[in-house]
Amino acid sequence: MRIALLVHAFPPRSMTGVEVYSEALARAFAVLGHEVEVLACERERGALHLKQQREQRDGWGVTWLTLSEGLDDEGQRRQAPGGVAACGRWLDREQPDVLHVQHFLGLGAAVIDEARRRGIPVVFTAHDAFAICDEYTLLGPDMRAVLASDRQALARCRLGRGVLDQYLGAHDGWLLPGDDSLPVRRELEEVMGETSERVDQLACAIDGQLRARLEAVDRADHVEAPTAFLAQKLLSAGLHSKVHVRACGIPPVPVPSRSSVPHSPLRALYLGGYFEHKGVHVLLEAMNGLQDELQLTLRGCHGSSDYIGQLQGLAGDLGVHVGGAFTREELGGLFASADLLVLPSLWVENAPFVIREAFAAGVPVFASDTPALRESVRDGVDGRLLPQGDVSAWREALRVAASDREQINKLKAGVQSPKGIEQDASELLEIYQGLVARAQGAAHKRTERLPEHLRGFAQRHGELEGLSGRELLVRAVQGLQKLASSRGVPLPELEGAVEMLASNHRLRERLAEGQRASEWREQLVEDRARALGHAESLREQAHERASSESQRADWQTQVADEGRETLRAARAELELSERTCQEWLAQLEEAQQAGDSLRKESDWLRESLAQGELEHRSLEQSQEQAKQISEAQQERLDDLEHSLRAGAESHERLQAFAEVLRQRIEASQSAYAELQAEREGARQHESFLEERLSASGEKTGRLEQDLESSRAKLQWRGQEMRRAVEEGQRFSLRFFGRRLGQRLESWGEREGDQQ
């Protein structure tokens, strides 16, 4: 099988866990008879960006991909410009059956897609939390825990790293709590508590980047993590793929023969980087007072210089040496001379290789009690788990260990051999084979969809596509040579060129690099030519200036000659003037007297002038104020004019309206007058009617009285008449008989009708 490993750094340039593990894995695969190619990044300022140089190791190869651009840019540090495409070219050359991404820092998660696009199955091992968070230790630069899901916090961390970068040049470092008066700490605290628009914007950008990263990881064919703790972190962050929890193996640690009895005094060993989150200072503080009982050895391959300085300060008082880098060959000896390994980490940790290396050497481990480390160390069985950062607890545990040899013996007995790199490689090969078979099955299905007569052609095409660039080249050249030979065409000797191109030194890459270097040099030459042109123009300018200065010097010499002549004449004039002066001195005395008088007058005038100036200044101020007022008034005037114009317009509208109203009023008035007149007429008519009514009343009264009177009269007359009639009747009866009596009765009836 052709296996490709991709890792962010590699031994011997970087000797930390993932790098050393990747190297051991490559070697193990090669030993098992597989072809292995490693792509490893190396960061080098000023070098040719994306240079690829292959190095032949023992049965396998490592291609160094140089990253020199974007090292100062936050985003490009994690994904170098052009890095993914360079990885694609490497994949094209090597044509692996499977790609195992150990760490994509520097290239970006898009390398996963780059492989999948080529039909290469991808395995991704999350050795830390980088897949979900830039702060792969889940610690901010201020050493406080940070949640991968808290994008605002991540944004502040990034800004905080800028602060560390600016003050300490320690971009990926940490700052331990301490003196708050230090500007760097003060500024870091400010940034870590910042809530601002820039934090929001940065959080938004980080969110996009991390989502894309996680989605790319999701597209890997097989994702695994060495601890359930990290697997859970990945799933919590939104990874949909199944995360397989599988411990990594370690290369053998050959330990020289050693006594089973613990050393006296007890010997503790720290192996690892000197970074704040490793908590070495906690260990040194815990060692205070234990110097006679416990001997501590510190060995670290790298670290931050400030922190190393701090550690040296602490260690010096304890008589502990802050030791430097160590090789794999030294590892066995270091473990052989130690009774326990200490790992006082202040971060969450994952599955440190050093623990398993210690176990491989039969050395128990005292480690910080974190969820991840609980998966590596069994408290009281093969080591101790101690409260993270708790100096007292660590001191007490170390004191007990130093005094209780039985405890160490018991822990040593509890240590079990960890998984070896060979077993790890075998397990991985099984995974790879499954994925490759699946990929081949998919390719086979694609071929099956083709018309029958094309399948053989497509299959052969696919097989050739699977060849590495080297094989393609060699086969093509051999085939051409054979063809040419059969047709009697002499071809130039190509074997040498092919050998060079396909050899370990990879002339092809060097030629490609050479081409890029040539382009770079051409650019350099162009830059220099431009600089030369600029220098030339400067030289010409200087020359012109020198020429101008020379002319000026000539002119000045001429002026000096003329000056000397003038001086001679002036001297003569001076003598004459001296004489004249004497005369003038006499005049001067007179003038001085006049002058005194004038001076007094002048003083008065000066005072007046000063007064005047004060007044003038005051006036100026007044004028300025007046001007401002005037401007304000002008503005008001403008406003008023504007209002006036608006008023005039309103006035016109109102006038027109008033005219309408006036006309309406006039009409109303005339109508009113008419109504008044009508009312007056009505009133007169009413009076007339009242008078007439009154008169009528009176008349009625009178008439009623008359009527009453008439009635009374009539009544009386009637009675009188009736009496008269009766008397007449009686009289007629007496005198005229019946006839006269009827006549009298008729007279009486007429009288009654008239009434």
Partner: protein, 291 residues
Amino acid sequence: VSHPISIVIPTLADHDLLSRALESLQEQQRTRSCVDEILVVDDSGDETFGVWLASEHPQVRVIVHPVNLGFARSVLDGVQAASHEQVMFLNPDVLLRPGCLEALQETLDSQPHVAAVAPYVLLNGTTVSAESLPHLLVEEGLPRIERRELEVNLGHAHRDFPDGIPVAFALGGACLLRRDEYLAAPFDSRFEPFYWEDVDLGQCAWEAGRSVLVDPRAVAEHHHRGTIGARVPESLVRAAIEKNRLLFAWKHLDEDDLAENLHNLAARVIEHDLAEDREALIWLLMALEQN
């Protein structure tokens, strides 16, 4: 006097396309004094297609391939089953204009040295003739096909080439040739799965002292309904073309051109490798393996 032709149509069970092609052939029959034979070779493996064809076009003979065996094999099977001396290769997306077959047959009958004659093919029925008059060039040892610019009066013989316009090859999708001659030297299997096989056939004819002509009196329309591009990934199509171009070169180039070809290829191999152009190396390897 015309005599019957066997018309071989390779198909992929495209009912509409074949119906139109057959209608066009029926039109031809009106001006023909004999009845031509139509052989449809179906590569689709669709059993119902044969049933449909028998019911809709009973005059047509059908050869059914249970699986897709490709163009060259279909043509060969069709020619082997042909009853007549002359066979016409006809793709179903090529429609013949009236009088086409008559003209082609007349040319082939009258000129025994002519190995194949093709109609003047109009692209998609327009007057743009993008497929006729192919001309072969060799540049830096590699053959290239170019269209020859020549003014043609459709339906009439060319004034400079009254017997037909010489061309490098007759399009495999529309040409008339002799059955026995073809069976003696059919499409070269090295050019499988497709492309360049008709170029090779034409070149073989010229090398044997025969001619290949386009007769502008015979006009056809090519209504592109490409089947390869729809069914085959572009990378494979390109691989087939480039592989066959190399095979053609190695088969037909003269000594000097071949030497130039091989020298150039040797240099290009290095260039391809440096440029990481893997595909070009794969084409070369495929050609070398099939050579």
